[in-house]
Symmetry: C2
Subunit: 421 residues, 2 copies
């Protein structure tokens, strides 16, 4: 599907006015950044860059798009759009990398005309995916190595769900319930069973037997439809001690897990895992650290960014060619929303394997630390694709480098300061 | 695009087990409802039904879907999916209608097999769209007849944005900035200009002149890039008193609007409208009721459901055929999440043009009030499509019928009680 209409109308009317004024082809630099992290978060996580590259390649105005737009913009603008191909450069933070207030997550260089109309779709993708990734990362850390299954599809827009599963995997989740995400991004998929399956059958025992016969002993039986203790006994009696797992979806999960563990052990099913689900977020996951839980299924909180469903990133013009042909920094002075002019470079300053600052400069400054901007698009050609597993590994390395305060779940300041120099 | 893989894996593994056990073709009834309204809301708004009907018609397993699934489910299940066509019935609340805890927003009747696998995509659509609509409705009421422009695309997933614009329009927004939503759903589109356009030019005056020359006097000039008072004077000097509108995006919007109104009036531009934007939600909109504002642009809060980005609707098996062929009510007894068994009917009890109760019954009960369930799908054929404008009108009529407490923005109980009888 073409992505060109995933755009706010004003991008195209601005284009029209700039084409008429002769300013549309001025060279320009736009930057994506967050003025602040949402609600006391200690770091954000970059995600969606790969999807932005896909969207850029599909950003073409088809004949039926142009026909629709003929009621909105004039002929010269339609002619420009008909031939539109982004021919500029894009630099960006790699997926999985941490970011902080003012980090130039993405830098788009081109003419004003070709760069301004990408604003909406670039921000849509990054605002969604970074929000999900930033929540997923906290959950992964809270889970302390226990596996997390992403199962939030039903609580968010049907295609946002696919992107959310991707961001969750990037940040350490082990699998997703979403089949489209499994196919599209090659993610491991997983699933248990629903209460509907138990209720379909004439008894819980019938349901368990049906599931075990079809899916094998390694399946996960849902044990909280009626009486948890009774269900666990039934499950082990039917499956034997090699039952894969049981799932608890309600009640006091810590207490229930303890009871279930005792019952399983008493029946010799000491290897049967306990999976818990039910409105888990990073706080609930952390609170279950001492409970005998072997895995978490996370839904609503993951796909809604755990209280912060958007990363509130902005896409701002920071430099443009002037009448004399020189690139000049620009910045608005709106009350409460100032921005810093000039094209940026960014470095993570690291001392003794611990990050100490996010250095943002207005000129290349090798030696300030690890360079954070990678080349993604050169002269309109995507050159910065990478496998999702590379981003997943980067995320773990990035997290390991952050100071301990980064992992506090309480509200606070960003884990490292952003230093503009 | 096919929608069949927008599905949690467990729907298909449950199907496999039920097919093997001989229970998959038992008749079944699933219901979509909310256990509670989010965070003290007084009512919810049904939205997304039309999109569910579209998704249902596209719910087909293509050869490449089946090839992917061959690693997940067995041959008999793949054979079932290859021939899958929903052949049952769907009833539902009409879009724009209000709902309350326990309202059976959608009722799906079919075999267990054909109905269970629709769960994920049905919930994804309704949970997203109802969340947006429920927020949009509060904003529309707070705006008190002043036009609202939906401009939140950049703050949410790129395709969630399109659905959000649809829900906003359904609930009274006058237009959207999203071009894809304009084309897909025939919504009015609108737009102003961004700070980037001002900054592109060598002066604010140059930018205003370029915009006016290309887009005409009726355009909306953005006046807060540098100094609002100066920008407004420049705008009127260039455009004359017939300037369409100015937009303010920062600062104390109420105070700024008052100042701008005075300046505009002093220059004879008494018909020039003032549009305000910038992190508006229903509370901020209500707080601007006394300010000289002619329209609101709403972004982030709209597309994120103003604090409640999901409606938390569930899809529950409430009745199924037993071994003897009789339809039996079923319900789980999980702690804190009990559900009520049996297929439901619903009526809005109205006295003297004011709604007094949501009546939910386990048998048809004409005379209890306005019947809320409409026929949407009969024997697999969609029969319940309607134009979006019909839903938009219904929403206004539904709101007019609710008691005044429904329009309180403070947290509280649902505007009317749900009575199960």
């Amino acid at each position: 599907m073409g992505t060109a209409l995933l755009t706010d109308q004003y991008e195209l009317t601005m284009l029209q006015a700039a084409l008429a004024a002769g300013t549309a082809r001025r060279r320009a630099v736009f930057e994506v950044f967050a003025r602040r992290l949402p609600g006391g978060r200690r770091y954000g996580v970059v995600s969606g860059t790969g999807r932005v590259l896909d969207a850029l390649e599909s950003f073409r105005f088809a004949p039926d798009d142009l026909e629709f737009l003929s009621g909105i913009v004039d002929e010269p603008t339609l002619a420009f759009l008909a031939d539109y191909r982004f021919s500029g450069n894009v630099y960006g933070y790699r997926e999985g990398e941490a970011y902080f207030p003012g980090s130039p997550i993405m830098v788009v260089e081109g003419t004003f005309a070709e760069a301004v109309i990408l604003e909406t779709v670039v921000l849509s993708i990054l605002n969604h995916d970074c929000a999900i990734a930033s929540a997923a990362s906290r959950m992964s850390h809270a889970a302390g190595g226990r596996p997390l299954i992403e199962m939030g599809s039903r609580r968010t827009h049907e295609l946002a769900a696919v992107a959310a599963a991707r961001s969750a995997y990037l940040c350490g989740f082990s699998s997703t319930s979403n089949l489209m995400a499994g196919r599209t991004y090659g993610l491991p998929t997983a699933g248990t069973a629903a209460h509907a399956f138990i209720l379909l059958h004439d008894s819980e025992e019938d349901a368990f037997r049906a599931q075990l016969q079809s899916l094998g002993q390694d399946t996960t039986l849902l044990v909280d439809t009626y009486d948890v203790a009774k269900a666990v006994r039934t499950a082990v009696e039917l499956a034997g001690p090699d039952l894969g797992a049981v799932r608890i979806d309600s009640g006091d999960l810590a207490a229930a897990a303890l009871d279930v563990r005792k019952t399983l052990d008493a029946f010799g099913a000491s290897k049967t895992r306990i999976i818990v689900t039910g409105d888990l977020d990073e706080f609930a996951i952390a609170a279950l650290a001492a409970a005998p839980v072997d895995g978490y299924g996370v839904g609503t909180a993951l796909v809604t960014g755990s209280g912060h469903p958007t990363a509130n990133l902005v896409y701002k013009l920071v430099a443009r060619e002037d009448a004399s042909g020189r690139l000049q920094p620009v910045a608005k002075r709106s009350v409460g929303k100032p921005s810093k002019g000039g094209r940026k470079w960014a470095y993570r300053s690291v001392t003794k394997a611990t990050a100490t600052a996010e250095i943002v400069t207005c000129a290349p400054a090798e030696g300030e630390g690890r360079a954070l901007l990678a080349e993604l698009v050169r002269d309109g050609q995507v050159v910065g694709r990478e496998p999702l597993d590379a981003a997943r590994e980067r995320h773990q390395a990035t997290l390991a480098e952050l100071p301990p305060s980064a992992h506090s779940l309480s509200d606070g300041d960003p884990a490292i300061p952003t230093v503009f120099s």
